[in-house]
Symmetry: D2
Subunit: 377 residues, 4 copies
């Protein structure tokens, strides 16, 4: 199987997201890294790309140059990853889709609901893939959970409880740290802080595992560090279209939590629990029964869980290989296989709509609001 050709925008030297994508794209030998515009400083980006093995004529100075260059080639890239600052995702993603490239966009896909709807329309019109990097959804045991729900193994879902709460922004004296500050500053982060940054991962996960969409929500936001304009802690109650009740807590001041992203799904006949810090296990309990620990790699898992695992039972696989699983799904999708697991532009749009709705609800004392994008109402 020939490798697919892959390029990247952003993710320059010193970034964390760059190596994560390069590892993800190349870990399974599915993509060849052939083009890049890696830095907002053209020369720096060109130099770094070449040091990473990119030919000089595909080591671009900016995304516009890369778009022009790749469009004109016969051996143009099959996929571009957009890992630039959030505010630029919309413009770049739209341009590449329109030029006929498949795109993997970092989250958030856009800054507004309107932009999100535009991307969905462009992706549909062009017939190109627009995936969004909700990488947690590609852990094998998350796929197992989704497949179990779809197969009715916990019955109709009544309740979903999820959180994504850490304490790494809990130090008020760290307020001048630019790596932290921008996230709570509306000028740079938009209308939401912690919910837009982490909460939407949890909200996507709820929809993903239940294969259902959030319909209405009510939000309570707090800036527990008073100097922050945007929220550093949020609780969002929601209802899904099938009637499922949802509860989502997200925080960045939960000191002692490292990366507390976990989800519990409760149905009519059973419950599931998954935790991102122990991603290779899934707890499963049938009503009236004992909790069973399902292990990644055990026999008899659903196909998606087995396909996305590389090493034997109880050999842990971690976050970088969840990103690699997104690329596995992308390779399949580019080759025309149907994968319903890959997060798409509609997921990115729904996240934006949820952020917009939560911000509005929180400002209005938690009033229940429609969380759906206008185009899906």
């Amino acid at each position: 199987m020939t490798k697919l050709k892959w390029g990247m925008i952003g993710g320059g030297e010193g970034s964390q997201i760059g190596p994560a994508h390069r590892l993800g794209a190349q870990a399974d030998g599915l993509f060849e890294f052939v083009a890049g515009a890696l830095d907002h400083r053209p020369d720096v980006g060109r130099d770094y790309a070449q040091r990473l093995g990119i030919a000089s004529d595909r080591a671009y100075g900016d995304w516009q140059e890369m778009l022009a260059g790749e469009k004109s080639r016969d051996d143009r890239i099959d996929l571009v990853t957009v890992a630039t600052p959030n505010a630029t995702h919309f413009e770049i993603t739209k341009a590449f889709l329109e030029a006929g490239f498949h795109v993997l966009c970092e989250k958030p896909m856009t800054m507004t609901v309107e932009e999100g709807e535009e991307i969905v329309r462009v992706a549909e019109k062009t017939g190109k893939l627009c995936a969004v990097n909700y990488a947690y959804s590609a852990y094998p045991m998350v796929r197992q959970a989704r497949a179990m729900v779809a197969a009715g193994e916990i019955g109709k879902v009544r309740l979903i409880v999820t959180n994504f709460s850490h304490g790494h922004h809990g130090d008020a004296t760290d307020a001048d740290n630019p790596r932290v500050r921008w996230r709570y500053d509306p000028a740079m982060a938009g209308t939401s802080g912690q919910f837009a940054d982490c909460g939407i991962h949890a909200m996507h996960m709820a929809s993903f595992i239940c294969n259902d969409e959030v319909e209405t929500l009510s939000a309570d936001f707090a800036s527990t560090i008073p100097s922050r304009v945007l929220e550093d802690d949020a609780m969002v109650n929601f209802r899904m279209s099938g009637g499922t009740v949802g509860r989502l807590w997200t925080s960045s001041v939960a000191i002692g939590r490292q990366h507390g992203f976990d989800i519990q799904v409760f149905g009519e006949t059973g419950g599931l629990k998954w935790q991102s810090e122990q991603p290779n296990q899934l707890n499963y309990t049938l009503v009236g029964g004992r909790t069973q620990i399902i292990e990644k790699g055990e026999g008899g898992l659903h196909a998606d869980a087995t396909r996305l695992s590389r090493v034997a039972i109880a050999h842990p696989e971690g976050f970088p290989l969840a990103v690699a699983n997104i690329y596995c799904d992308l390779a399949d999708a580019i080759r025309g296989e149907t994968r319903n697991g890959l997060p798409r532009a509609t997921d990115g749009l729904r996240s934006m709509a949820a952020v917009h709705a939560a911000v509005g609800s929180a400002k209005n004392n938690g009033a229940w609001v429609d969380a759906r994008p206008p185009m899906f109402r």
Copy 2:
């Protein structure tokens, strides 16, 4: 030290709460069980009391008989425990307080806020103790958490996140089981189901550990099993008088959770985490530091945590001895020592006010409401 004399109303043969209180009262040799009206069937109760070693003249047929009998004795009981059906707590507790007895009342102390205020007034007027059995608050490591917060070891508290969620009522086909059904029937349970049953333990715990009171709240109730009139799942957001943000989830349909009562407290300089299923450990993290596991029985704990532990480090102590700790505090309080840890009538009242407020908020789409009893506004 002479043992104190103790009597009990309710807790007859086959009940679970009766043995728990008898073990709690007698485990440390502090109370002598000398009187009881243990069953709503007078003969059955008298017989059972005598089989438990109560003298025949103090094996009463009902609480009125016991009240009259004990009032007339020189060696009257020092303390009576009220462990009867919820709707009778108010009447019995009030009568014994007014007759000059100290009372330990099972939760809920009353069915309404008005009754709760009445009990507070009577306790104050008579100068008698009215304790409420929030036994979880008497675990050594909960006392440690409270003392650490009071000592400033996590700084000013910003956020408290707690839940009390199990899955033991998750079976819709079990609806005819009378042990389950009454809890969701307004005729028997009052205005709230799961929040009044379990949620108020978590809400009391939040106040207890932070030494602060809930001021306002917003509630989202759900009957995930549709045949239920009262909620089997609830999310309550709240604010405490000191500005602390609170999040409380309670559920009885969380299949796979056995007894998921836990609490996380996040302050300006640190965080704490305690879980009722592993009650002998407390996780403590200073901002920027590593999580430390504090063990019951280790050297240097706060006085209350050391006092309320009986066996060496890492020898677990469980729920029955948390109940016994309530009796330890009662014995001290009866003898005139000041214990600020003992849950009192004001705590029972605040719980009722919170239930009342949450029910009102839930009916009003989660509107924020005052959660305080009128007498404390």
Copy 3:
């Protein structure tokens, strides 16, 4: 049911073991504490006994006085607990058995194998109970494990792996602390340190759960703190009479372990795992299947596990109530019911024989030796 009459030797003011036994005997209302010789200083012991509610004529100055006093009474005690220094267990236990009293002896039952055999003979001759306080064996989930093995739920047992390792004696600078020092001094502790102190709990547990006896063993002892004459760390490999392979590690210098007593039992069709720091769960895995978590209090447990639990599922019960379970079994046994779970003199003897064998093996470079008492060979 009338309470049984109970007395205690040792366990005076300030000891930890005294309150543990008093709680254990009285927690379930089965025994009345009526006699005691609680301290090696007669006046101190008499005074303390009276403060605990013992009548003055049964507050004895020493065990001989107590033996004489109780023998002469019509309402003599039904059971005496011997909780004196180890070297005195043999003499006191023997004397009370011969005088017709049931005895619960703290471990070790004796200091030598010969004494152990003598106690077994006396108990048999007199027909009186001689129980030994291997309290860990009375945890509900340990009883569940034993019953599961007996019922064939893991098949024939192939392998048992257990350890009892803590780090509380890991500080070499603490060597002058008399609470620690005596345990490694042959003049006070006998021929073995950590193995005799903690290891025999693990060895008893192996026999108890498998209902099998240790036949041969090979030991490796180490004094990792060089000033110690006796071992502070030991590994013992053994074989049981049914061919089961055993591995037992015990240590007091395992810094970071609080009370690491746990046991894993592996059979032809399944495995079990129990840990003393989380005593209310038992892990169960059928070959080729998923690990299931069995919870104390769940439906369908074996009778002994259900009988010895007091509170609902997932309400933890701890070590003091395991001791109370020994007293539950004692009350039953005194009343003539057959309980095969109660640890008896033969268990105390087998422990001594194992200590003797391990010491001999360790001195002889780990040679395999017979671990059985001569009288059982």
Copy 4:
């Protein structure tokens, strides 16, 4: 930085080890996969190599052809990985070293001690790297543990307790499964079963973390499934050259354990605990202090732990990236940087000597024997 050129022998289609190495070598963009002899069937191997992107002239039919082909090229590979059946490791590794190639050999490096000494001599003589894939030693938190021990953060090491025990060969009815059977057949596996397969990982880890060598050992082997000639369960006690006491348990019949490889290291001033199923945490306890949880990715870790981690704190990294870390160290070593962490031929040799010693000891009733290779005595 130009990529290094890499080739592989073995690891053909359907093997698990092939993808693990290819991912490990390429995950961080350090090696380019340019040559291979991937299957014992020449045509199959050539075809598969080309499907993986190897040029046809470097898709070899067997290792001899590959050796000849690569030797003759100017752009010869920098490193070859040997992932063939165990009995062939010696011959291939020796040949490539002698031809001037760096080698990464799967474990066991050889089948005998004599072969192991030969490899050590050849590696020394040629000055070429011969690394052995003890990949567990490359987890960031294992490197942290090693660095902490070296820095004296737990004082002089007294005791090391490790095990590598799973239950995946616990089904006696699975005896005909060829994937399992060969491991216990001396004709195919050599003189040792489970100890040689898994135990030596644990023994290497003990030496690795303590930076010390095993000097003497005593072994107890058991074939708990009687049809097996070689052991499926083993306990090895050992002493290291610095006096450290060691205890190592390994089993393949521990039903319920998935991959129970963990290690505890106890020193004069502290203890460490690491578990392979939760590889991103390390527990650390100072004598008299609380257990602290050290997280991969936290600030202030030792350099090696920080260098070998790719994603932020609490984003798990798993086994495939531990393999990748071996390749990171290899790339550095090939480029001339000194890495003392990379497992070398001397480690492979010491493992063989330990296997030889343990087999001899077990046959001789656990006699203590010298565990060192003759050339290091």
